[in-house]
Symmetry: C2
Subunit: 500 residues, 2 copies
């Protein structure tokens, strides 16, 4: 709600805080980053006007009256987060549409001007305190509603952001993270990140700041580095500086993810925060009709992968138009926490040792796409964005193992055919379908192949096979028996789950 008494809140800046943690060149995490790494696992909540229109992005023109949750209960959101073992809650206080979930003095496009005036930021931050979770803020740089955003003088909109961030970072207690999005809408310098970052550190010294698509291949260019490529220290550059952690939703970092990135010739330590949706079709904002949740197998493997290696994970569990988180998604998140045994106050659980990592791999056939050989080795390279692809459906993948290494778990991330939901609910959701429908897992034992697993069901999004016994072998084979198209594998992980 716009106030006639708008105060120039920048005056707050004069009250500096001596324990601020601005980023400095380093090869290890500073205190703010270490706190982020230690939290490790957060719940993302998308909520706003889009929730009421079955949309992912809207253009800032949805009438404020559309925002109308019938049973708004932010306490329920955070209870779910607590029960599901999350350590922090990250709330979309303002998405690209510019609608604010708090009563902002600087706009009327907010809850205070809507039919349900509850200050959602206040309620969520309050519930976080009540349940012992940390509170984090997502804020979109890009604003499709606020006219100042398009003012010829970019500082006008910077001032608008400074005012709003001041509200967010002074009125709601501790904020541990600020997630900035939509930077693509303007030239980097137009956001004046230096000024925003300084403000944040003044108001919330331990608040970690991240800007989506943080890192680029060439200094000054806008070609973002896919996280899978971030396996060399001091090779890539900040697009957005300063910042405390790397972002590129919804990409998955390499298992050998590196932490050193360059700005003005200096090297900075930067952990990565992963962002995934609990919904199977990547629905960030909740839909009026429920969509299926991801399988516990996939969530378990993504959890281990994304929280390993000094990185963090937020899982989006958006509230629906009723103002409640859907039971089936809440139950999935809680069941995941129970399955992998996340315990309050203890380090997050880890996956076992990947005994297949970077081992020699061969395949019965290998496809080439865009002049790149999709080699067997990519199935065991620790990267979720490189893959082995076969040329025929009845393909085989063989990985050499150290016979001394034992294993009792396998996880397989199969490449999936994907359709964006343009003809369906929205332009973001995607519908995935895997190809492998029957397969064997064999090990080389006493000079012949011994079958240890046989399935005639689809692999689904991620197949986890748990063995009640340990196996040792010099080779392991994935033998596809039936597939709807030549199969392809992102990652084929042979795991010793006793070495955690």
């Amino acid at each position: 709600m716009k106030s006639f008494f708008s105060i120039v809140l920048l005056t707050f800046l004069l009250c500096g805080n001596s324990s601020a943690q601005p980023i400095t060149p380093s090869d290890k995490p500073n205190k703010t980053q270490q706190l982020l790494i230690d939290r490790g696992y957060g719940m993302f909540i998308h909520f706003g006007v889009n929730t009421f229109t079955d949309q992912e992005w809207s253009d800032g023109k949805i009438p404020v009256g559309k925002y109308n949750p019938t049973k708004l209960d932010c306490d329920q959101w955070v209870r779910v987060a607590r029960d599901a073992g999350f350590r922090y809650v990250l709330l979309t206080t303002k998405h690209h549409d510019g609608f604010c979930l708090w009563d902002s003095k600087f706009t009327d496009y907010d809850v205070a001007s809507s039919p349900v005036k509850t200050d959602v930021v206040a309620e969520v931050s309050k519930a976080c305190k009540k349940y012992g979770l940390k509170f984090a803020v997502y804020y979109s740089l890009w604003d499709r509603h606020e006219p100042l955003h398009n003012d010829p003088d970019p500082q006008k909109y910077v001032q608008y952001m400074m005012n709003q961030l001041t509200e967010l970072l002074t009125n709601y207690g501790e904020v541990v993270e600020l997630w900035l999005d939509g930077g693509w809408a303007k030239k980097q310098n137009d956001w004046d990140l230096d000024q925003l970052y300084t403000l944040v550190k003044k108001l919330q010294p331990n608040c970690a700041v991240g800007v989506n698509h943080t890192i680029v291949y060439e200094d000054g260019k806008r070609k973002f580095v896919i996280p899978d490529d971030m396996i060399t220290d001091n090779k890539y550059y900040f697009q957005y500086f300063p910042g405390d952690f790397r972002l590129w939703d919804p990409k998955i970092a390499h298992l050998a993810d590196k932490k050193q990135y360059l700005h003005n010739g200096q090297s900075y330590y930067m952990p990565f925060e992963h962002t995934i949706c609990i919904s199977k079709p990547w629905s960030w904002f909740q839909k009026s009709k429920p969509v299926p949740a991801r399988s516990l197998d996939e969530l378990e493997e993504l959890f281990y992968w994304c929280t390993a290696n000094q990185n963090a994970l937020v899982i989006d569990i958006p509230a629906g138009p009723s103002g409640l988180i859907y039971e089936h998604e809440a139950n999935t998140a809680i069941a995941l926490a129970q399955r992998i045994n996340i315990q309050k106050g203890k380090p997050l659980p880890k996956n076992g040792r990947f005994i297949s990592m970077s081992k020699p791999a061969t395949a019965s056939s290998t496809d080439i796409q865009n002049e790149v050989l999709l080699d067997a080795k990519f199935a065991v390279d620790g990267g979720m964005q490189t893959r082995w692809a076969a040329k025929d459906t009845l393909a085989e993948l063989v990985v050499e193992l150290k016979p001394a290494d034992k294993f009792n778990k396998i996880s397989i991330f199969e490449y999936q055919d994907m359709r964006k939901g343009k003809n369906k609910d929205d332009e973001f959701s995607n519908y995935r379908t895997n190809r492998i429908e029957a397969y064997d897992i064999d090990i080389w034992k006493d000079n012949e192949w011994l079958n240890i697993y046989h399935d005639e069901a689809s692999m689904d999004d991620c197949k986890v096979i748990r063995f009640p016994v340990f196996y040792q072998a010099s080779k392991i084979r994935l033998k596809v028996l039936r597939a709807t198209a030549p199969p392809s594998i992102w990652e084929f992980n042979i795991i010793d789950f006793s070495q955690r």
Copy 2:
């Protein structure tokens, strides 16, 4: 191996054993039956000439030389049984084909005349002693190889069976169960069960005897009672008498299974032993190519169901032509034991309380087949052979619950379209496919339906939904969102898993 010195082994009968446990009229288990009930969970092993021909039944004409396991290791079979929590091993010592897994003096159609002369009965019984399991014997009355079987004087073949059973029950230590099959091949009296039973009790006083298709609707007629109908005491009759337990493979008893059956006006207590295959397509004998195992969800629910109510369960895990149990099936059985926590020397674990049992049920539509209304009530009647069937694909089933009853688990046995494998591997295996492909589970809460589960994947053979929280409701609804044909449900169980 036929011996020229065949001894008339019946002389053994003269050495009677005073602690024999023949069946007598009773309304409670005798010692032999109580031991069977307490064992509760056995591993069935089908092995024989069929194993080498990808057949389920053969006609007794397969040359004995076809029996040729390359790596026979009966110790491995029983290790698997031990690791999988089974309390006894039931071996097909002779199937309908007449081939004997031991060196029988009364036939040449046995292992001793084959390329691999190992006495499998001896090896298995020895391994059972080694690993602390009980040993049980399956023996087919029907014999398609032995000429005496078709002699005009039925006593000739009875004598043959007496001789062979004497071998089996004297040479291999304790035998806790004798499973007689194939009775349909002759008139009941031609088997002279009285004589066989008396012999068994003389040689193995605590050996429980069962004959497949034990119970009939009318005294003296051969129309077998399906186990689902056995819910009234003293209503049905023995077809085969005497005997200690009921059999009808592979049918599943009603949850309200009754135990009193009539013979000559007297009432006898008779527990039921269930018989299922670990393989998804009901493959009794192993095939040269592996077939998929059942899902752990289905096995868990069948385990609880079939071992409850003073009944027992044997699961068939047949050895393959190598002479080894397949790793993928062994692993499934072991994983089941770990999942439900079967512990040696402790009572078998139980399912929770079915709060939906016999509660009022209604459906959006109901089909009629063979002039029988497939009513909604059949989905909550505790019987796996009665079902609700809808007339349209987008059907709903609503069950009233007591609001005071809580639940945290649901299991759904969906009716499946089934194709016998006549055009595929053999005449027995069947291929099942379910119809429901997307569905909601909703509860009636605050005067509206609250969705608590949403899925867009096939229900598969048995769907188990575990909730990390307890729910209470006055009504629960299964709402089908997509199905390939009008859905039908055998059982829709709402379970309080804390009441076990």
